[in-house]
């Protein structure tokens, strides 16, 4: 008896499903009735195809005469797994490439490379970092990639005097802790936020920007910086949480605010479903995210919706440097990603120190402090807090399902 009933229920469900979806299937253009108020965001900004490389860039190979003990080790600490693992993977592949090139050119100095997984989680990062500082052979570290975990572990490095260069953590407050071992190989969000705001209003011609930030140190810092720089161009703001999957309430607020552009300060794990749901609800404007969103995973997870997206990033498009691109591909079996080249450059700074005989933690730290030379992506010279002088912010867009650089923004 139940079986009959179940069958009829299934049939009713099928019919109901059918009635409701009729006609939906063949539409691929934007919805006609449910659109956001203003039609913003369809500004065409051409992609660029090359970037300038400093001619005297220091490369990992050095002069080939490096001598060091066989135990000399540099470490990567950061995400290898976890929801935002891809950014970490981009970085350690960059480091791996630098080390491979160095070791191939310097038979007298074979530097070891060790990776420590933090999952990008501030709560989990202290364990691996404590492990790193206790291993005496590790004299320099590239990491940590994210702002939250960097904040949580900076003191541990500081206590043991171990130099660490972050290739991607952008929260401005990280250099305000009085740490002497922390160096940042890119611009911070006090640079990125205003650059993003200028990009939104001047390039994308956004009149009404809705700012959404997540609950990470990075998202809060960047959201605040961008909101301040946007001033009256911001029509509203909202906050979401790490791990959130449903954004319907935020989206209905955005639709009601008639915003023409959404700026999201956070990582791609949340940005992808957010953008996807936003477009599904009929939003036709642009979606702009920072470096934490700029990743192929974002496009993969947001699908078609991602074609409305732009990114800002204090990172250099390494894929446009042919020598780097082809070598990176051999190591990683993939195109260089966000921060691959920053990871490579950061490792190069440490490796060139080792080649110059700076083979203790104290010597290598002093080396980085006094460093003043070009890397592949930019000039590296840090001030006393560990910030670079005038780093560039690049814009990117999604074009045919790929991330394409559109040049320096915010100037």
């Amino acid at each position: 008896m139940y079986r009959k009933k179940a069958l009829s229920v299934t049939a009713v469900a099928a019919v109901a499903l059918g009635m409701l979806m009729s006609g939906c299937a063949n539409q691929s253009g934007p919805g006609t009735t449910a659109t956001s108020g203003a039609d913003g965001g369809k500004v065409n900004i051409p992609a660029i195809s090359k970037v300038d490389v400093p001619s005297a860039a220091v490369l990992p190979a050095g002069d080939g005469k490096g001598k060091c003990p066989a135990t000399t080790t540099i470490a990567y600490a950061g995400a290898e797994t976890g929801p935002n693992a891809q950014l970490g993977i981009n970085i350690f592949n960059g480091i791996q490439l630098a080390i491979n090139q160095h070791n191939a050119a310097n038979p007298g100095c074979q530097v070891q490379f060790k990776k420590f997984d933090t999952e990008g989680d501030p709560n989990k990062a202290t364990g691996p970092v404590t492990q790193i500082v206790s291993e005496a052979d590790i004299i320099g570290v590239v990491g940590l990639p994210f702002s939250g975990e960097s904040k949580a572990t900076g003191n541990i490095f500081e206590q043991k005097g171990l130099v660490h260069i972050t290739p991607s953590a952008t929260n401005p407050n990280l250099t305000k802790n009085g740490w002497t071992t922390f160096f940042r190989a890119l611009g911070n969000d006090a640079v990125q936020g205003p650059a993003a705001a200028k990009f939104l209003t001047d390039k994308l011609m956004a009149k009404k920007v809705y700012v959404v930030q997540d609950d990470s140190d990075y998202g809060i810092g960047l959201g605040t910086q961008t909101s301040q720089a946007l001033g009256s161009a911001m029509v509203g703001s909202d906050k979401v949480v790490t791990g959130q999957k449903d954004f319907s309430a935020v989206i209905s607020k955005i639709m009601n605010s008639k915003a023409d552009t959404v700026y999201y300060a956070g990582y791609y794990a949340e940005a992808a479903p957010f953008d996807q749901q936003l477009v599904a609800k009929g939003f036709t404007g642009s979606f702009v995210g920072p470096d934490g969103v700029k990743d192929d995973q974002f496009i993969k997870q947001a699908g078609d919706a991602s074609s409305n997206s732009f990114f800002t990033c204090p990172c250099i498009p390494g894929e446009l440097i042919p020598s780097f691109e082809s070598e990176y591909k051999k190591v990683a079996n993939a195109e260089p990603g966000t921060y691959s080249i920053e990871g490579y450059d950061a490792a190069t700074v440490l490796l060139s120190g080792i080649d110059h005989g700076k083979q203790t933690r104290a010597d290598l730290l002093a080396w980085v402090k006094a460093y003043d030379a070009d890397g592949l992506s930019k000039h590296y010279k840090w001030d006393s807090t560990g910030e670079l002088a005038t780093p560039d912010v690049y814009g990117y867009k999604v074009e045919n399902g790929k991330i394409a650089p559109i040049g320096v923004i915010g100037k």
Partner: protein
């Protein structure tokens, strides 16, 4: 001097949380403005919670066991949907298929999800709970086992599929259907709500009217007497797990429809916790309570979120209301009474 020192001291307190200064707003205007859209989104999610909550409630009713692995039964269903639709060439973009082909494909995905979830539920019962029952293990052992099974399945999936969510799968482009007080209801919301309500009513009727349903209620009321009266207790328990799995599988289809990139190894966890809360709110062990609780949890969370101006509050508000309700009615809104419900 002193008069200057005091205000600065007072200021020192909010500065201790320097992240941002407007983290609580109480925005009634925003709620009024977004009331209907919050309501329909809340109901859509509530319907999904309710379907999952039924699984918790049925098992609790029969075994007095909180089956924490139920969230993984649900996520296995999501993977079922994902693999079926991927194999059918669904991707991140809305498919260009004739309408009936989409309906057919979705029904196939529904069937696969239901089978996957039901099978998982039955295997969990047989492998994890039945041996404990045989040895008359204390209730705490069941609880710990349930949590253990939940993690085991999560990390099996993690080991197999990695930490990233699967690529988004769009089943169809939501089409605006009609307008309620200026809020557009789309086909997706309607499909989910209507299909879920049909399933809920069917489950309710099944428990109330069918022979197996009577068996389930009998075992819930008094397992020993039920056995004496000729009810096959083991078979009933297995059936109960299977029904929970079937509903979780259906919920999985709707969930992936709503959240195309939600298929992830731990993607069922929070949803499971909320569905469990829904079951408790309505009265655990009570089928209609689970339905009511699910819809309420969906609605309350959404209202709270809009009222307080941040998604950070969705879960907080939902759980605060849960606690408040339990203080007044410890049994839940409709009371816990699977066994007592009248035929």
């Amino acid at each position: 001097m002193i008069s200057e020192a005091i205000p600065s001291l007072i200021h020192a307190v909010p500065l201790a949380v320097p992240t941002d200064d407007t983290w609580i707003t109480f925005d009634v205007d925003s709620l009024a403005q977004n009331f209907w859209s919050s309501t329909f989104d809340g109901l859509t999610f509530g319907a999904i919670y309710a379907l999952v909550a039924l699984g918790y409630t049925l098992v609790y009713g029969v075994l007095n066991l909180i089956n924490f692995a139920h969230s993984e039964v649900f996520i296995v269903g999501c993977y079922g949907v994902f693999f079926t639709l991927s194999a059918l060439n669904f991707g991140p973009s809305a498919p260009h298929l004739p309408f009936w082909a989409i309906v057919g494909n979705l029904l196939l995905a529904l069937v696969v999800a239901i089978i996957a979830s039901a099978l998982t539920a039955v295997v969990v019962e047989r492998v994890a709970y039945k041996p404990l029952r045989k040895r008359k293990a204390p209730r705490l052992a069941f609880l710990i086992t349930a949590i253990g099974v939940s993690f085991a399945i999560q990390y099996l999936i993690y080991w197999w599929r990695g930490p990233s969510p699967e690529a988004a799968l769009t089943m169809f482009r939501p089409l605006p259907i009609f307008d309620v007080f200026g809020t557009i209801i789309d086909s997706q919301q309607l499909v989910i709500i209507i299909a879920a309500v049909i399933l809920m009513v069917a489950t309710d009727q099944f428990i109330r009217k069918s022979k197996t349903g009577r068996g389930i209620r009998a075992v819930a009321q008094d397992p020993d007497t039920a056995t004496l009266m000729g009810v096959n207790k083991e078979k009933i328990i297995l059936t109960t797990f299977a029904i929970g799995g079937v509903l979780a599988g259906a919920a999985a289809l709707f969930y992936v429809m709503k959240i195309p990139s939600g298929v992830q190894y731990n993607g069922g966890f929070i949803l499971g916790v909320k569905a469990f809360a829904a079951a408790v709110l309505g009265g655990i062990g009570n089928v209609r309570g689970a339905l009511l609780g699910g819809l309420l949890i969906g609605l309350i969370g959404n209202y709270g979120q809009v009222l307080l101006g941040s998604s950070q509050w969705t879960d907080v508000v939902a759980f605060v209301v849960l606690v408040l309700v339990l203080v007044v009615r410890p049994e839940g809104i409709l009371g816990s009474s699977l066994g007592k419900s009248k035929a």
